[in-house]
């Protein structure tokens, strides 16, 4: 039966046919062994790689806490915005796509490369922000190019919305991307490149409270980076809302008073140190800093000779002029010198061998009319009698030359000249004649508006000095409060001994300043029905003629100061006004009056005694 096949087998090599079965078996065994190697021995490793392929961590941005005024009126809000991120973990050459990305996002290739360089040491899986607050056009571009540009991803975020026109800009501050320099510092240890942080003002001081904690989502993506599902998530914890001590009505009055001027106004409750208003001019728009800060805007801010970024309420260090006479009077009375002083003012006098002028012939002057008249001759004499050591001691006791310790960054300390100070900083001996200028608030003396307000508040409250602050301590935990106080040390809360008769003398005299028909230094600031007391100051800007010549376009018109309060004893509000080149102190007095009027009006409305209208 198999006869046929026997003959056939002679024609084809039987062994070779047979061997081919073993070839097939061998191929299958090799493939099987290789599969064993991959799927059994290498499974754990490949499973990890497969997970890395498809799971991506996407940040979920915590919305920053909003900021309110003391009565819960909103100052800083958030608005929804979209940011474009670049995913660098792509199986493709990103450089080739840059021109297209740049065109679609209205950036330059250089800008994108700079961003990529900035994040070069960040983990590869971390998406990097290419452009914030992108327009609907740009979002459409990204959506339309999903296939070609899978490396682009958009993310919804909440962005800062600040008041318009730089309203309270210096107080509130602004947010921006954490800088490389910041990241090297200890206090930014927990931050990562691309994080948004408070850069100044309340935003900086209270960043840890406002920022919240970013969350993340583990999303499942396909090879094009498109989200197809979600694995898990870590919820974002929104930042805490923050209530400021600021009174919006008072702040508005301060902002309005400074309209078109240069300078600063600060209003404070001297019982507590709560800042009611803080305004500075010129100002800037923090909204421009929150997103897409253009280099043009940055340059215009940086090149502005009037330094719009400077918060002059706490950073301007200028000669206080005659406002310093309050502190001189305190020293004179406490030392029992001023009470019995009677000085004949004939338009000035010779002190330490040199003639010093007064602006008027005041005749016979004592402490009660020296303050409202602001008689220089009286204070030259007092300064000569007290000497720099005593003046410096009293100046320091009310906080001149020291930071107040307000909870805002970059506060200036000012200068309270003394023998020691001059030796230390100027490496020169103190000349006794220098005390004469200090006596009328000139010379090397430099104060900030906040220091003046705090000093007056302390004196008018019988020596109770407060630590100024813009956030209620009750809003903070004990740890947060002590951290803020440690970060911003200052002369702080203390009580200095003042004989009651002395501060009554000073405050009564200050009330005369704004009383019409009397001394006429700031009678224009008089308000009917409001016990408003204060002291003007007109401080020369350029004491050195050489500086005046090199000042270029700088004005040499004197700075107008005013520091005042209402009511005169145990005041509820003290206001310091600096109007740079405002010429006369009584000009500033009128600005202070507007602020005090707004405060008193609001208090009466809140008490139900006045119908708003």
């Amino acid at each position: 039966m198999d006869w046929n096949s026997v003959e056939r087998k002679e024609k084809l090599p039987t062994t070779r046919m047979h061997v081919s079965q073993y070839v097939v078996a061998l191929v299958m065994v090799v493939l099987g062994c290789w599969l064993w190697r991959l799927q059994i021995l290498g499974a754990a490793n490949y499973k990890v790689l497969a997970q890395q392929n498809r799971i991506r961590k996407v940040p979920v941005m915590a919305p920053r806490g909003r900021i309110f005024d003391r009565y819960g009126r909103i100052l800083v809000d958030n608005y929804p915005s979209v940011t474009c991120y670049l995913l660098r973990e792509q199986p493709k050459n990103l450089d080739a796509d840059l021109p297209l990305i740049a065109e679609g996002l209205h950036l330059s290739v250089d800008q994108i490369q700079a961003t990529m360089k900035h994040f070069q040491y960040a983990p590869k899986y971390q998406p990097i922000p290419l452009k914030q607050d992108i327009t609907p056009d740009e979002q459409a571009f990204i959506a339309a190019h999903r296939e070609e540009l899978p490396e682009l991803e958009t993310l919804d975020e909440q962005r800062r919305l600040y008041p318009k026109d730089g309203f309270a800009a210096h107080l509130i501050g602004y947010v921006g991307e954490v800088s490389e320099n910041d990241l090297n510092q200890d206090r930014f240890a927990a931050y990562e490149p691309g994080d948004v942080v408070g850069k100044s003002g309340v935003e900086e001081t209270y960043d840890s409270i406002l920022r919240g904690t970013d969350g993340s989502r583990d999303i499942i993506v396909n090879s094009h980076g498109k989200e197809v599902g979600q694995m898990g998530q870590e919820l974002a914890v929104p930042g805490q809302d923050l209530k400021l001590t600021i009174d919006l009505d008072v702040q508005m009055a301060a902002e309005k008073a400074l309209e078109g001027k240069m300078g600063a106004i600060v209003a404070m409750d001297p019982h507590t140190g709560e800042i009611l208003a803080m305004a500075s001019r010129p100002t800037y728009d923090p909204n421009q800093f929150a997103v897409r800060l253009t280099s043009a805007y940055w340059k215009s801010i940086m090149d502005d000779p009037d330094h719009p970024m400077l918060n002059k309420a706490i950073q301007a260090q200028l000669a206080p002029g005659s406002t310093f006479k309050i502190i001189m009077s305190l020293a004179g009375l406490q030392e029992n010198v001023a009470q019995t002083m009677h000085v004949m003012c004939n338009g000035g006098g010779v002190f330490f061998g040199q003639f010093h002028a007064c602006d008027k012939h005041h005749g016979m002057v004592d402490i009660n009319n020296a303050i409202p008249w602001s008689c220089d001759t009286f204070y030259y004499t007092l300064a000569e009698k007290l000497g720099i050591d005593v003046i410096s001691r009293y100046g320091s006791s009310v906080g001149i030359g020291q930071k107040t310790g307000i909870d805002l960054p970059d506060e200036a300390a000012g200068i309270m000249p003394s023998v020691l100070w001059k030796e230390k900083t100027q490496h020169q001996p103190w000349y006794p004649g220098e005390v004469v200028s200090v006596g009328i608030g000139q010379g090397a003396l430099e104060v900030t508006p906040l220091q003046l307000a705090r000093a007056l508040g302390g004196i008018a409250s019988g020596g109770v000095m407060v630590r100024p602050h813009v956030v209620f301590p009750s809003e903070l935990s004990a740890d947060e409060l002590s951290a803020v106080r440690a970060t911003y040390p200052g002369s702080g809360e203390k009580t200095i001994p003042i004989t009651p008769a002395n501060w009554e003398t000073i405050t009564d005299a200050m009330a005369q300043t704004t009383t019409p028909g009397g001394f006429d230094t700031a009678a224009a600031a008089h308000m009917e029905g409001i016990d408003f007391a204060g002291k003007t100051g007109t401080a020369q800007v350029m004491s050195h003629s050489a500086l005046a010549r090199t000042a270029g376009g700088h004005s040499t018109v004197p700075n107008a100061w005013f520091v005042g309060m209402a009511p005169r004893r145990n005041p509820d509000i003290v206001v310091a006004v600096l109007w740079e080149h405002g010429n006369w102190g009584n000009n500033s007095a009128k600005l202070a009056a507007q602020v005090i009027d707004a405060y008193v009006t609001e208090q009466r409305e809140r008490a139900g005694n006045l119908v708003k209208g």
Binding site: V27, Q39, Y46, R54
Partner: protein
């Protein structure tokens, strides 16, 4: 009548093939579920149905008749390879299809392979029947017979007449190897040929004239998968991750992250084995290898029991091509072979591939059905 005709039909071989086809349809369904190609398993079933009809049809025509028209068909093949260049449809950078209208595309290189198997079988059959030893002249003729269409398919820049398809042209090689092997090539001859191939290949590779740039890139990527993460290196890497992460049991149908997430390239055609490995694990993969082993061994048995050397040569040719395709494709999926674009027979989606395979099976059946008929 029909009953007597099909009494020696290889039902066992067909059942192995059908089991594998079912696996294929299910895996195509899973691999395309998340893509715009979902529903391709239905088209694959249509191809299978057409293939089965073709298979039964082919099994009815005596293979000696097919051998007789072999040289005519060979001529037509060469013409069709020229035609594909003139009227072919360009797909993925290569002209491989002729549009027949109505959405039907015809890929000549697939059926050219079938013709080559028949022609080679006839060529070596004549030598075997004559009882003489294989001469160098015979070897030369065989090389020409297979080499001309091979070169036409493997596009050479200075020849410029054929399609750039390294993978398909390489599948013609086992036809030649099997023919020479069974045609009685002596060890000395084989040694000289292998040596010559190594020298020519070495010179070709070192001067860079043998391969097109993309083919060279694939080879480089195979040697060093991380050299270029974008193209073939990326494909190999993703395939290895897919296979490896499948583990012992696999991730389950529709649950392969590499397959469903589009990380694995073309998981329903060239990389379908990797997709299957990911979703069904080592055990599933062994099952598929076992099925292939059974199919191939069954074919060898059919060759051994064929009525005449012509039948043996035809079946062994088909078996050789099938073994080659399986080894190269699975080898590619597991990183043992470079990316060549050869589909996995009986698994990969594709009309030309399926129909060719079933026509080839039809010829195998044909030989078996006539093993007692002379």
């Amino acid at each position: 009548m029909m009953r007597t005709r099909f009494r020696d039909f290889d039902w066992m071989l067909l059942s192995f093939v059908l089991v594998l086809s079912v696996v294929s349809v299910l895996e195509i369904r899973s691999a395309t579920a998340m893509t715009k190609f979902h529903g391709f398993q239905q088209k694959q079933m249509v191809f299978l149905a057409v293939g089965l009809v073709g298979m039964f049809g082919f099994s009815l025509i005596d293979y000696h008749r097919l051998l007789e028209i072999g040289y005519w068909a060979y001529g037509v093949s060469l013409v069709s390879l020229v035609a594909v260049r003139v009227v072919g449809t360009k797909v993925l950078g290569a002209r491989r299809w002729i549009n027949l209208g109505g959405g039907v595309h015809f890929q000549p290189s697939e059926w050219v392979r079938l013709v080559l198997i028949l022609v080679a079988a006839r060529f070596f059959w004549e030598i075997v029947e004559s009882g003489r030893e294989l001469s160098w002249k015979d070897i030369g003729k065989a090389f020409l017979l297979i080499g001309v269409p091979m070169v036409m398919v493997l596009k050479q820049p200075d020849l410029g007449t054929s399609q750039p398809d390294l993978g398909t042209s390489l599948t013609y090689l086992p036809v030649l190897v099997v023919g020479l092997y069974l045609g009685g090539i002596r060890w000395k001859q084989a040694g000289i040929l292998i040596l010559a191939a190594l020298v020519v290949g070495g010179i070709g590779l070192s001067t860079g004239k043998l391969l097109k740039p993309y083919q060279r890139a694939r080879l480089t990527a195979f040697m060093n998968p991380d050299s270029d993460p974008q193209t073939s290196g990326y494909q190999i890497r993703q395939s290895l991750i897919a296979v490896g992460s499948g583990g012992l049991w696999g991730k389950g149908t529709n649950k392969g992250t590499q397959t469903q997430g589009d990380f694995l390239p073309i998981p329903y055609t060239d990389f379908i084995f990797a997709a299957f490995c990911e979703e069904h694990g080592f055990l599933g993969a062994l099952g598929v290898l076992l099925l292939y082993f059974l199919i191939l061994v069954r074919m060898i048995q059919n060759a051994q029991t064929a009525a005449d050397p012509a039948g043996s040569l035809i079946v062994m040719g088909i078996m050789g091509v099938l073994l080659f395709q399986i080894a190269v494709n699975i080898g590619m999926c597991v990183g043992l072979m470079p990316v060549t674009g050869i589909p996995l027979p009986l698994m990969s989606y594709g009309g030309s591939s399926v129909i060719y395979m079933f026509l080839a099976l039809g010829i195998v059946m044909n030989v078996r059905m006539r093993r007692f008929v002379n």
